[in-house]
């Protein structure tokens, strides 16, 4: 598994902080679905929709179930050509 760029992690941390409406320092590099009360079902879908809007990707239901942590979202973006 290639190492994730720190810039990608920062991008994702920023996106998650906005989507979940929490301070950026709560978005740790290994944060996962359910670790914060705000990262619930609605919070998760807000993250997915912002990924679509900001990165122009189209996320399907399989990916919604897979992208459940900061590292997985980072890897997804880098795989889809959005490396930081």
């Amino acid at each position: 598994m290639p190492e994730i760029s720190p810039i990608t992690i920062e991008l994702v941390q920023s996106l998650l902080a906005e989507a979940l409406q929490v301070p950026p320092d709560l978005i740790t590099p290994d944060l996962a679905f359910g670790d914060l009360p705000q990262w619930d079902s609605l919070g998760h879908m807000e993250i997915m929709l912002r990924l679509e809007d900001q990165f122009g990707v189209s996320i399907n239901t399989d990916e919604i179930a897979q992208l459940i942590s900061v590292p997985q979202i980072c890897q997804y973006l880098e795989f889809n050509g959005h490396a930081g």
Partner: protein
Amino acid sequence: MPAESEIIEIIPGIAIPDFMVSEIQSKLAYADERIASVYVRSEQISIHLFAGKSATKEQRIEIEEKVQRVVSSLAKGAIQPKYQILEDHLDRRIPYHDDPHPALFSSGQIYQEAPGIFTLGPLVTLLITFFEDQFIELANSFGAKPYRFPTLIPAKFLERVNYFRAFPHSLTFVTHLREDLDVIDEFSQHAACSQEGLNTPSQSFSRIQTLLSPAVCYHLYYSLADKSIPDGQVTATAVGNCFRFESINLVSLERMWNFTMREIIFVGSKDFVLENRELARQRVAERLAQIGFAYKVESANDPFFIGEFRKQAAFQSAFQLKFEIHASLPYKDSTLAVGSYNYHQDFFGRNLNISLLDGKSAHTGCVAFGLERMALAFLAQFGPNPSDWPAEVSSKLKT
């Protein structure tokens, strides 16, 4: 449809994906009180207005704007659900193919008091009792403890579980006359009911603090709120009246405003809930096979309102949270959802502060059966004459 009803043809602002057609059709019922029926295609929507409720040019524009708002909210960026079939027994031989409603109406076995409100006669009641016995046996196989829940549910509880945001369109509110002698006197002397409803002014009624319950399992979760579960898990069962207003979609026994659900409810760890949900599906499959019931079990989503639909339905689909039992309705070459297998993750555990022994939020799930719909689907597949029914059913009827 009365011949004189007015029709509005609308070209949707964005094309409607095939997988959203039925969802948009059902939600358009709530767009305007003048709408009598709706026919949705990908590129065109036909709106029929109630006869006698013709619309001015401005009102037609207003209706079209509302329709476009519904379409835009549901179709724009809609995420295609993952379609999964867990069981398919629709090819079972079905001996009956007519619509059972006319025979049931004419023999007095069903009587419609108002749209979505039905009285059921002895035959349908016997059949419902049969299915109830089956579901109670199923509940007993899990050691489920019996509960009785009220028909009313406090507004503050539904607010706590986000129900107002998710399903506002289907709520049924409860009120009473204000405790005011003048108001009560006025009502007792002048209350009259027309086709439009009671003539009582709205200020005579109390503020709403209570609703008619939309589901059975909510009451169990409410009773566990702000508590730690002593044994780490709860298995319960209950039957109850449920109320979901479905506007012009309230048609026949297929879609009732006031219906009855039997539920088996699991509260505990994720593994406990998911394992029991799957076990329940397998045990139901065995029972339905014994009577030769034709159905399939497929992925589904709850009927969220337009603002929440896109996110919530996609989430349910992605995490396989809901599967429905779709029974064959041969008379319309279609199926009807008669039950469901639901997993809520820790949604209720978190929102209601229900904790497990390790301090984590409880996970919940339920298996639910619509009793009137089960009876209808059975009658649609086997007919209204008990002598034509499978021995597995007729031998167990409690006459």
